[in-house]
């Protein structure tokens, strides 16, 4: 990479940070408990809109993993989840009515909060429908992973998005608040992911899975990106570029080994396809607040009307992280 390109990326990073700084006015604190954050705490950042039904399990899952504090931006929920979040002892929550899209799908908001509160912390950036898995997550807390990453001088940790879906129609089995979403949607595609390298930011571009297979069979290049880097030892000079797909400075995107070895990596189980999805897809059709003019949702709505079955004979049923590691979806790297 030449000096010129490096300089341009630096400018770009500064632009995102200035933008995040300006978007801070969008956010009104509802419950600010950030004074509780101790220097070694693990933080979780998220944006949510009408996710009331998912949040109880979401918080429980990450509390058990060892997250110490949650920082959540509520984008004008109407289902009472804001009040519920505000009443939780380890949650700081901000409210905004502003456009999700104009905050670059929430990235600006979270970049700002991270700039302000996450400096020097390990932080996870996940959506309420994403469950993070890492090697040995059934026997070792998240802190074991971050300590190991610190000892190995690794600053960012990759976790690919793995779409989970139910067997049968998506709206067949209702999801109850507090329930493990994997009870409803335990299936996934094991081996149809394709990878290309993004020369500009140095990250990998992963596509595939059931969304590509069912909704984009004729235009796979439009299928959503599945590469994510949700766990980063944050520094206030860092910035997410688009969702958690890539970061600047670009060294943080080098979460893969180029010389034949495997680095340690995890998986984000994406439990988007619950019964709540159909109504969400319809709402998005009118709201158009998602990426690429909600193109994804247009395709979903069309696809869902015809054939809302994502399950196929070759779908795998989720058992544990070791299964995903054997399938080659994640790796222990040299963590043993």
């Amino acid at each position: 990479m030449g000096v010129w390109q490096s300089y341009r990326l630096r400018l770009q990073r500064r632009r995102w940070r200035i933008r995040a700084f300006r978007k801070r006015r969008n956010l009104a604190p509802v419950a600010n408990r950030t004074d509780q954050i101790r220097p070694s705490d693990l933080l979780l950042f998220s944006t949510a809109r009408n996710e009331g039904v998912r949040l109880p399990y979401f918080l429980k899952y990450y509390r058990e993993m060892g997250v110490n504090h949650f920082l959540i931006v509520d984008n004008d929920s109407t289902d009472g989840s804001l009040d519920w979040l505000a009443s939780q002892p380890d949650v700081s929550v901000w409210h905004t009515r502003h456009s999700y899209k104009r905050a670059r799908f929430g990235v600006d908001w979270l970049n700002w909060l991270q700039m302000k509160y996450a400096h020097g912390h390990w932080c996870l950036v996940v959506d309420p429908d994403e469950l993070f898995l890492y090697p040995f997550c059934d026997t070792r807390p998240l802190r074991a992973l971050t300590d190991w990453l610190d000892a190995s001088s690794i600053k960012s940790f990759s976790a690919m998005l793995l779409d989970m879906y139910p067997k049968g129609r998506i709206d067949e089995e209702p999801y109850r608040a507090g329930q493990d979403p994997l009870e409803v949607a335990p299936w996934f595609d094991a081996g149809n992911y394709t990878i290309t390298r993004n020369p500009r930011f140095g990250n990998l571009w992963i596509q595939g899975g059931p969304r590509s297979r069912v909704f984009f069979p004729e235009a796979p290049e439009k299928a959503p990106a599945l590469n994510k880097i949700p766990l980063v030892k944050w520094d206030r000079r860092y910035a997410y570029v688009s969702s958690t797909h890539m970061l600047l400075p670009r060294g943080l995107n080098l979460v893969y080994d180029e010389w034949g070895g495997e680095k340690a990596s995890g998986v984000l189980l994406h439990t988007k396809f619950l019964d709540t999805f159909t109504s969400k897809a319809e709402e998005e059709l009118t709201r158009r607040e998602h990426y690429g003019a909600s193109k994804e949702y247009v395709a979903y709505a069309a696809g869902l009307k015809e054939n809302p079955q994502l399950w196929c004979k070759w779908s795998e049923r989720y058992i544990n992280w070791r299964q995903l590691e054997i399938l080659g979806l994640m790796s222990k790297g040299n963590w043993a």
């Binding site: 074991a144 976790a159 595609d189 149809n192 984009f216």
Partner: protein
């Protein structure tokens, strides 16, 4: 005992040692805040067997660690005259067996020094290439804090050919820094009149804690057992592996006396090993299983799983360590030449035989399936967005089952180069066989001529690619004329090489398409100015008469 962090755990372990009657001298890194240090001292002040030695700055790879061990050893030898063996441990070391067992073990070997010590030229342990040179260069810059200066200064010394003199009588040895020495050996090292010379020399050796005692022990010890009593595994960057709660059983079964490094929050490990003494056990330490697990981890980190492309493994060109996960076969022209080639091959080999996986309309999986292992789709668009990933995914998903597929000049061309480069591929080509479907089709001759010309051009390019010196696949090429002379012999070779079923002679031949008149067809093409040459020399047989003779039954010659 050298500590710099996790004082709670260090206290626990120190008390564990003293409870069994072993005195402990603690060295605390000078960078620890004085308040924390004072607290720690205060907490342990009730224990008469614990002493604190003079504090040094212990940065990794520097002299401070040796100085700390020297001072602590001197204090130990002076204050506790009954001590016979001195064991160097750290705050993250954990005794796995009751201390009494270690005491007995050492009592049975009163003259033995347990210190891993090997000459530098004979071990491949060092990470980063500084093995011999760490003894002959100077290292004034910190590797941790001034990496660039460190590297540049090393490069500079290499360039000017700088070499220090090693003090007379010393033969550099290296090994694990966690040793257990007898009073005799240790005091000989510490009281040596030449110690100032040695100290001055080792002060600017790189990572002296792995070589100071290891080298000097060779001068004085009468009985060196070159292994460490501390179980300590290193990863490919040279940093120690860490033990967690889920290693409990593994550590129990290892029968090692002390393990490092333990994660300070591994509550279960500390509870299990510092709690009640287990049954007496005379076993020798046996870390074999742990060695294997960690060796595997290093292998996974450095070489990875062949044929896997994933979020944290995406090798550069040439570094794949196996382009694909398993062996597979590619057939050019066989399905065109034989009417039932796919079903025949499936019967003959038990392999998964696909049609044209890279056909322009869709992916022709075996048995007409629309999805296969791993939910791989049959959409041509998805496949062609990344044909290489499609193929590597298919081979990865079907590990353990041989895949065969047909390929030809109609198909996605970029695949040819990839399979050609792959040692796992077995490529068999009957060149020119694409003309058979043209010959048997019922289309205008002008169309046929145009298509034949196009297909011939594509196939000629394939063959060129497969003759490149970079090609690593197992390749066999026959011209069509050559092949139909004696088709069974090449087929037998191919099937034997696939080798799924027990080796035996083929009992059944695939049915060849009726080629009567094919020579004339080629001649017609030639007459039109298009010279088909890839199929070899076909005799122009007389044009078939109406109601052609029934196809000859294929036969096999049994030897």
């Amino acid at each position: 005992m050298l500590i710099h962090t996790a004082f709670g755990r260090a206290e626990q372990v120190a008390r564990h040692w003293t409870r069994a009657g072993c005195p402990v001298v603690i060295h605390t890194d000078v960078t620890v805040a004085s308040k924390a240090y004072a607290d720690f001292r205060e907490r342990l002040s009730d224990d008469p067997l614990i002493r604190f030695s003079r504090r040094h700055r212990c940065e990794w790879g520097t002299w401070g660690l040796v100085a700390a061990s020297q001072d602590a050893s001197e204090l130990m030898l002076a204050e506790f005259p009954d001590v016979r063996h001195v064991y160097l441990a750290s705050g993250s070391c954990l005794p796995l067996r009751p201390v009494e067992e270690l005491i007995d073990y050492l009592a049975e070997r009163p003259r033995t020094d347990f210190i891993e010590s090997a000459t530098t030229s004979e071990v491949p342990w060092t990470v980063g290439g500084l093995d011999e040179e760490r003894f002959t260069m100077r290292f004034p810059f910190s590797w941790r804090r001034h990496r660039t200066l460190f590297d540049r200064f090393v490069a500079f010394q290499r360039r000017v050919g700088y070499r220090r003199r090693i003090p007379r009588g010393l033969v550099p040895h290296m090994g694990s820094q966690w040793w257990c020495l007898t009073r005799q050996t240790l005091s000989a090292i510490l009281q040596d009149p030449k110690r100032p010379t040695y100290d001055r020399y080792f002060r600017s050796v790189w990572i002296p804690d792995e070589s100071y005692f290891q080298t000097l022990a060779r001068l004085y010890s009468t009985n060196i057992e070159s292994r460490s009593l501390t179980l300590s595994k290193f990863d490919f960057q040279g940093k120690p592996h860490i033990f967690y709660d889920d290693h409990l059983q593994l550590l129990r079964r290892s029968d090692c006396f002390v393990a490092r490094k333990i994660w300070p929050r591994a509550q279960r490990l500390y509870d299990a090993f510092l709690g009640e003494a287990a049954a007496q056990n005379q076993a020798e330490p046996n870390p074999g299983k742990i060695d294997r697990i960690f060796a595997k981890a290093v292998d996974r980190r450095t070489r990875g799983r062949p044929g896997l492309y994933m979020q944290s493994r995406f090798p550069n060109w040439g570094w794949e360590n196996g382009l694909t996960a398993g062996k597979y076969s590619v057939f050019h022209g066989f399905a065109e030449l034989f009417e039932d080639f796919e079903t025949w091959l499936a019967r003959a080999t038990d392999a998964q035989v696909h049609g044209h996986l890279f056909a322009p309309d869709r992916v022709h999986y075996a048995g007409g399936q629309t999805l296969v292992n791993g939910a791989l789709s049959d959409s041509a668009a998805i496949r062609d967005a990344n044909p290489r990933a499609f193929l590597t995914n298919l081979i990865w998903n079907t590990r353990g089952e041989r895949q065969c597929f047909q390929f030809g000049p109609h198909d996605t061309p970029s695949v040819n180069w990839f399979t050609g480069r792959d040692p796992n591929a077995q490529i068999s080509i009957v060149s020119g066989a694409w003309a058979v479907p043209l010959f048997r089709s019922n289309r205008d001759f002008a169309d046929l001529r145009r298509e034949a010309a196009a297909l011939q051009k594509v196939e000629a390019k394939f063959l060129d690619e497969l003759r490149s010196p970079d090609v690593k696949a197992r390749i066999r090429i026959w011209s069509m004329a050559e092949f139909i002379e004696a088709p069974m012999e090449p087929l037998q070779v191919i099937v034997d090489e696939i080798g799924q079923k027990a080796q035996r002679r083929l009992t059944e031949a695939p049915r060849m398409a009726d080629l009567a008149g094919f020579g004339q067809f080629l001649q017609n093409l030639k007459n039109q100015g298009m010279h088909p040459y890839l199929m070899g020399d076909f005799p122009v047989d007389p044009a078939p008469r109406r109601g052609a003779t029934p196809a000859k039954k294929p036969y096999l010659i049994k030897r």
